[in-house]
């Protein structure tokens, strides 16, 4: 909170779109108005104007062809006007959004947001019609968050469509959408979505405050918003959950959290979340609860494997080989003896190679990335052992670690886990088990103090809440979960009641 206040002290730059400082009213002369607008937009070539005759007056329709839907303009403005010939403009035009404006300054911001302006000779007013062109792709399942069963739709780059998907799923009057316009040089529409009766009021006030304080010029991605509103930027742990799945989003909204969606991006930001939210997947709730629990437990095991195993292995082979059973010591030692480097260097070499392969695989088209898989996996994996650069057990450890890191359903946490194992590896290589213990102690202390929007991040472990475990390691049957307490919501709340509108006075 303190951090954001500090950032807000950065002087606010005036929106440097070329708005003239003094207010200018619409003049009765059409030409004067058109010239003014063109001049303000520096005679950009994509301005279109069309002559209109209405009510025995000469008029002009002006719009940006790159932002407006020409077909819509024809249907809702030109055709009705030509058919009616005389009458009141407001009554004739069939556009869904219609306004009458008198100030030319506003005209500029309207026109760059895709609206069409109509001027009539002798009338010092302009008619503003909503004619924005919407180009959007089809709704389809996000590639990075596939699931086996359940709904297969995902958010797209259009805010209205995304909000539609949420509203459509939550038919409840308590669902509130709050719009914000962010960015000093380019406006980005951002929507804050929450359940009025479930989300704490202080939480919503706080997030609205933080959103309004964002001092950036323009919003490129939700990551921009995320970095400005999160509590601790210097933490390796992700404090906001990003998802492209509407079902996941509404599940969190119904738990009293909020979602932030922005125009032009299919990603929703969800907060406040705990570490364990990142390990939940909609799939858990589609399978039977026992199996769902098993899968979830495996995911947590993967979390531990991914960031402890390399360190553990290093500390065992460098400091405490006597921990292993005697037969294992022989086979491990015989493999290690051929490698001249300390195991930390082995591990770093292998982990970095793996990250390289992964990074290369992401950027390349699918057909080429298969080659990377073969070169990286087979050729490098096999030959580093043959050459004696890396020992076989190390390959096993690194491979297991890599697989475990990818089990995490969230990309952000997966990167955190991959990042955190490096300091642990160094600690292990320096001080063995004791170093690991100290390293883990530091990490968990960090988790203990981390809070997002006033909610403890490592709940239900810290602070310990037995009830919170109903949906953490084990997914209890759903009728159990209805009564479980969630951190983001008032404790005494019984979620089912609250959804029906009885929860809060």
């Amino acid at each position: 909170m303190k951090r954001i206040r500090r950032k807000a002290r950065i002087p606010h730059f005036e929106k440097s779109l070329s708005f003239s400082p003094e207010a200018k009213d619409v003049s009765p002369s059409v030409k004067e108005n058109i010239d003014y607008i063109k001049e303000q937009l520096f005679n950009t070539d994509d301005i279109l104007e069309r002559d209109i005759y209405f009510d025995d007056r000469q008029g002009k329709l002006i719009f940006l062809e790159t932002l407006s839907d020409k077909h819509l303009i024809m249907e809702s403005i030109i055709k009705p006007l030509e058919r009616a010939k005389v009458g009141v403009v407001e009554h004739v035009i069939t556009s869904s959004g219609f306004e009458v404006g008198e100030s030319l300054d506003k005209a500029i911001s309207w026109i760059i947001s895709g609206k069409s302006l109509l001027f009539l000779e002798g009338i010092p007013e302009m008619y503003v019609c909503e004619t924005g062109l919407v180009i959007k792709r089809d709704v389809r399942e996000p590639d990075n968050e596939g699931i086996v069963r359940g709904s297969h739709d995902g958010f797209i780059e259009n805010l209205i469509t995304n909000l539609h998907m949420i509203r459509n799923r939550i038919e409840n009057p308590n669902l509130v959408v709050q719009y914000f316009t962010l960015g000093k040089k380019s406006d980005t529409k951002v929507a804050l979505v929450y359940m009025k009766n479930l989300a704490k009021e202080e939480l919503i006030d706080e997030v609205a405050r933080r959103l309004n304080l964002i001092p950036t010029d323009f919003i490129l991605s939700p990551g921009f918003i995320g970095e400005y509103i999160e509590d601790d930027t210097y933490s390796p742990f992700p404090q906001l959950l990003y998802t492209e799945r509407p079902d996941r989003t509404i599940a969190y909204i119904m738990e009293g959290r909020f979602a932030i969606l922005s125009e032009g991006n299919p990603t929703a930001i969800i907060a406040p979340v705990t570490l364990f939210s990142f390990y939940q997947s909609p799939d858990d709730y589609h399978s039977r609860w026992m199996f769902g629990s098993l899968i979830r437990t495996i995911r947590f095991a993967s979390f531990l494997i991914a960031f402890i195993l390399p360190g553990l292995y290093i500390s065992v082979v460098t400091f405490h080989p006597e921990v292993l059973p005697i037969e294992l010591i022989y086979s491990v030692k015989s493999s290690i003896e051929r490698v001249p480097y300390p195991s930390l260097i082995e591990a770093f070499f292998m982990e970095l190679t793996l990250e390289l392969i992964r990074e290369a695989g992401i950027r390349l088209p699918t057909r080429v990335s298969q080659t990377i898989g073969i070169v990286g996996g087979l050729v490098i994996g096999d030959s580093v052992v043959q050459t004696g650069l890396v020992s076989l057990p190390m390959i096993i450890v690194v491979a297991l670690t890599a697989i475990s890191a990818f089990v995490v359903p969230s990309h952000e946490l997966s990167s955190t886990v991959r990042l955190l194992r490096f300091p642990l590896m160094i600690a292990a290589a320096m001080f063995g088990f004791i170093g690991m213990a100290a390293g883990l102690f530091l990490i968990f202390t960090h988790l203990a103090k981390l809070e997002t929007f006033g909610n403890p991040y490592f709940s239900p472990f810290m602070p310990f809440k037995l009830k919170g475990f109903k949906d953490t390691f084990i997914r209890f049957p759903l009728w159990h979960l209805n009564k479980s307490t969630k951190d983001s919501t008032p404790d005494e709340r019984n979620s089912e009641k609250a959804i029906l509108g009885e929860g809060r006075k």
């Binding site: 921990v323 088990f433 004791i434 213990a437 102690f441 202390t445």
Partner: protein, 361 residues
Amino acid sequence: MNYSVKDKITPNQFLFFILQTQLGVGILSLAHQIHKDAKGGAWISVLIGGLISQIMIVIFWVLLKRNKASNFLQAMEKLVGKITAKGLVIGYSCFYALVTVLELSEYIRIMTKWVFPETPVWINILIVATAAVYLAKESLRVISRMYLFVSFLIFPLVIFTIFGFKNVHFTYPMPFLEEGWLGIFKGANLSFFYFLGYEAMLLTYFAVEGSDKDKLKAASLGNLFVTLVYTFTTYVCLISFAPNELPLVPEPVLYVLKSYSLHVVERIDLLFLSIWMVSVTTSVCSFVYLSSIGVAQLCKAKNHKKFVYWIAAVCCIGTTFTLTPHRGEMLDDFIKILSYGFVFAIPILLLIISLFRGRES
């Protein structure tokens, strides 16, 4: 300093704060030390030691209950006047700092012997101190949260010890009263020091939310748990080693663990030491925190953060001077005498004053 909202803890968290502060370096050498005086009755001594601690907890509780204030310093100012109160807080701060030094030097002694025979001492100190300071500079609430979490590690500690039952001889410690009740009380007198840590009540009591009864219950439960763990490990050591063996092994718990294997993991003592290291870190963290809280209250500072660094630095440097066996023993004896004063005499004296004051009004 006053406790802010962020420093308020629940009785549950208070329980684990007391527990983790008490549970420290002692557990490894407890059986060996007490056995010197009480022989087979060592476990009874430990039990009595726990009982004495319980009585002291009640005394602290009555004292603190009768003198309600927003922090320890203010409570004492009301009771004994400004100057004496300040002296008291200074005294306790120094006492806590000295206990930190003792914990650290005992930790270093065992670490050097068991894991890092050739690592420079200051690196060993630095490992623990870094972890402890990182936690101690946080608010009491965060510290207690963390303590509750690491308390899960007590389960493996106990379970590892249970595995030690493989080759035991229940007749080893018998007869329990070999040294007579005198020996047992001598042992209890010694075990009293291993239970130190509940005096953390003095400075943290006013930060706990809830009724006085809940607070007493929490502190007592914490102490009860530590008593059980200590008694249990002592008993396991007594039945694992013959009476003439025990004086030869200074860390009997580790030898018990070292003697058997789990097929998956061979050297359980190493795992035990890693977990024990966390226990030590939490104790060190507690004492550094308490010491800095005392200083912060004296200086009327907003928070204790900056004092933590200084006190920890002083303690670390101090520890390096105590590492020869002779000096270690001197420090040990010195702190024993001090504890009689700070944990025993002064609180009872304060309680008596408080009782008289109460009668006056």
